[in-house]
């Protein structure tokens, strides 16, 4: 497996992009923010039609059993368009969790619906994910802890900085799985969700760079496009550099998780750190280049700006991921690979 995308993967990414570009995603996100999930859920059904929701579901349960590179490609494109909803949870972490629990009863109960896109799922996975995202739009809420996975209901609902996102306490009820084997399944779900979240951030960062460049080409001051000023050029160039060098870390992490390499946790954390940093730099530059119009909810830019801030702390803080990288590299037993 290589970092270079195959022709099929390129095709998959560009068809997702085309579908989302034609779908008025910002409009759906605004309705989602107002509490009307219907256009957003219609969007998810369209995405299901392309296989996005089936990628992480095993073939025996109605899914595609795709590689994590494919999941990352899909989630990057969903982040690129700021698709509302629990993307990393429903498209990656929950299917991985249920599949990893290896309980036929649970698989039959939830996986076919997830694969088909009929069911949207979310979860809390403390301490990395203390709240369940968008539980009010989800048909399945789980509470995943190292000792047990429980069915949950949404408790107190909190607003997020991202208007098209909410966070809820997950109140655990029926125990779906418990025992020593559960911890490994929860760990796999954690890697899957983190990887997907990093991909969303990379995609959102790319969209913010595109928005910044586009605005800098069109907006004129002092009689010339502001993109001709070196101070603007260099900020955007630095954004491009950050995104360019985060991408291979994300790809390498996806490969490491797919192949079960022992560097997987280190690589996932390195990818999350780099994608978050690159996306945050993109957000700052895009806002600065837009000026005051970027600081409004009238402009769609805010959908990306706030999503980046929300996802930056989700699925493990930067500090938690840096600690995990250091634990792996200071151990010394993991050679460069």
């Amino acid at each position: 497996m290589t970092l270079t995308r195959s022709a099929e993967q390129q095709q998959f990414a560009s068809s997702l992009h085309d579908l989302l570009a034609a779908a008025d995603v910002p409009g759906a996100a605004r309705r989602w923010a107002d509490g009307d999930h219907s256009p957003g859920l219609a969007l998810w059904r369209k995405l299901a039609g392309t296989g996005v929701t089936a990628l992480a579901v095993p073939p025996g349960s109605g899914g595609l059993g795709a590689s994590w590179l494919d999941v990352v490609i899909a989630c990057e494109e969903l982040g690129h368009h700021a698709v509302p909803g629990p993307v990393a949870e429903s498209a990656a972490a929950v299917p991985e969790l249920i599949a990893a629990l290896a309980d036929e009863r649970l698989s039959a109960r939830w996986l076919p619906g997830l694969a088909a896109g009929d069911l949207i799922a979310t979860l809390a996975l403390p301490p990395w994910l203390p709240y369940a995202a968008d539980a009010d739009a989800a048909g399945l809420v789980l509470l995943a802890e190292p000792g047990a996975v429980r069915l949950a209901t949404a408790g107190t609902r909190h607003r997020s900085v991202d208007p098209a996102r909410s966070l809820s306490q997950a109140r655990g009820h029926e125990v779906l799985a418990q025992g020593p084997a559960v911890a490994a399944a929860v760990a796999r779900a954690r890697e899957a969700g983190t990887l997907a979240c990093a991909a969303q951030l990379l995609g959102a960062g790319r969209a913010l760079l595109e928005a910044g460049v586009s605005h800098a080409r069109q907006r004129s001051q002092f009689g010339r496009p502001i993109g001709s000023f070196q101070a603007v050029k260099h900020q955007l160039a630095d954004v491009a550099i950050g995104l360019e060098f985060a991408r291979p870390l994300l790809g390498a992490a996806a490969i490491a998780v797919t192949e079960g390499e022992r560097t997987a946790a280190r690589d996932v954390s390195a990818a999350k750190v780099a994608c978050t940093a690159a996306a945050q730099r993109a957000a700052r530059a895009a806002l600065q280049v837009h000026g005051a119009i970027g600081y409004t909810q009238e402009h769609d830019l805010h959908l990306w700006l706030t999503k980046v801030r929300a996802l930056a702390g989700a699925w493990g803080s930067q500090a938690a991921h840096r600690a995990r990288v250091m634990a792996a590299i200071a151990d010394g037993s993991l050679a460069w690979s």
Binding site: T2, L209, R217, A237, I241, V273, V325, W336
Partner: protein, 379 residues
């Protein structure tokens, strides 16, 4: 990794383990150090390891780009000496292979591979730094009655790396009025008649580069690379293909990042705690550059090309290099300022890294290239 690649890695690693000098050599930018580094280059060449990616007839092994990257990883991991011939090996040689004649390649490449001739570069001038196309040092066509025609070089070149001790130099000279099409790529001897070399002490105190005064220096036609007037296109090609990749191999940063983590681990205490995140970020940066370079190499091997994208890498590695070494010095704390010894390597590396954002096109030039050519922002 393929079995062939793993076998090559093992051969390189074993050879380096048996041959790399214990402890650092004296600085390459001193007369004694330069001689010691030349001797080291000759040892490498005798093992056919000095230019692995070159064709065998010039002293190489015809190694692939991936094999070259593996060689570099092992070379830096072994803390082997800096390459005194760097400018010739990585800038001039690929240019000769692409634009030079067969006669030039046969005549110039084998002695370069054996370090019998070490090359310096002569691009910048006092009034032509970032604005390289404004060079004034001239090449005037002459027919002196000698058996061959040629050119007379006059003017001043500066910041010429290695010129204090090297044998020959390659540079850009003005042969006509056109800003870009009036430049010619020429080779000249640093001890030829009319050449005066004034060594310049660098930030670290050694004569890492020099000023070159040329006063009617004769260069035969045989030492023009490409066509007269084509110098700009040829020189800029240096960044335009895989050479953009070979300027700094990821091996340097991977090895430095590993040593940094080891330094952090041994340091312990509150200082180390407060520097943990910077160490991690430096390691992640080195890993990103490594993965990115291998992916680029795979793309090039599959027939892809590298253009302005090389500018992304140049800014990234040069900033990474500074960050890596700054972090190490901050870990060393009060010992960071000490010259020499094993720990002094960090200070040497730091001083070296500070030049990175300046040479090979300043990072400001690179960011402008990225903005205009990759992002499509207006000039």
């Amino acid at each position: 990794m393929s079995p062939d690649l793993a076998g090559f890695r093992a051969e390189v690693r074993d050879w380096l383990r048996a041959h790399v000098p214990a402890g650092p050599l004296p600085s390459v930018d001193t007369a004694e150090g330069f001689a010691r580094h030349r001797a080291w280059e000759r040892e490498l060449a005798a093992a056919r390891l000095s230019v692995v990616s070159w064709p065998p007839r010039y002293g190489g092994r015809g190694a692939s780009l991936l094999e070259w990257l593996v060689f570099e990883e092992e070379y830096h991991a072994a803390a082997a000496p800096v390459r005194a011939g760097q400018n010739g090996l990585f800038l001039l040689a690929p240019t000769l292979m692409r634009h030079g004649t067969a006669e030039q390649c046969d005549r110039l490449l084998p002695p370069m591979a054996r370090a019998d001739e070490i090359w310096a570069q002569a691009w910048s001038e006092p009034e032509a730094g970032s604005d390289l196309a404004s060079v004034r040092a001239s090449a005037v066509r002459v027919n002196t009655g000698r058996t061959e025609g040629g050119w007379l070089l006059s003017g001043i070149k500066t910041w010429s790396s290695r010129a204090a001790f090297a044998d020959k130099a390659f540079g850009l000279f003005r042969s006509g009025p056109g800003r870009h099409d009036g430049l010619t790529y020429l080779l000249f001897g640093l001890r030829a008649d009319g050449v005066t070399v004034r060594p310049i002490r660098q930030l670290g105190g050694e004569t890492g580069f020099a000023e070159i005064f040329l006063d009617g220096v004769f260069v035969p036609d045989a030492d023009v690379v490409g066509a007269p007037g084509d110098g700009w296109r040829i020189a800029m090609g240096t960044a335009g293909d895989e050479r953009g990749l070979s300027l700094r191999s990821p091996g340097r940063f991977s090895a430095a990042a590993d040593r940094l983590v080891e330094l952090w681990r041994r340091a312990g205490g509150p200082d180390a705690d407060s520097l943990r995140d910077r160490v991690v970020d430096a390691w992640i940066g080195a890993q990103a550059y490594r993965l990115h370079t291998f992916a680029t190499a795979a793309r090039l091997a599959a027939g892809g090309t590298l253009g302005a994208e090389a500018s992304l890498g140049k800014v990234f590695w040069s900033e990474l290099d500074v960050t890596l070494h700054e972090t190490a010095l901050d870990l060393l704390g009060p010992r960071a300022e000490l010259r020499g010894g094993e720990e002094g390597r960090w200070l040497d590396g730091y001083l070296f890294s500070l030049a990175g954002p300046i040479y090979a096109g300043t990072n400001e030039i690179q960011r402008t290239v990225i903005a205009e050519r990759l992002l499509g922002l207006p000039r």
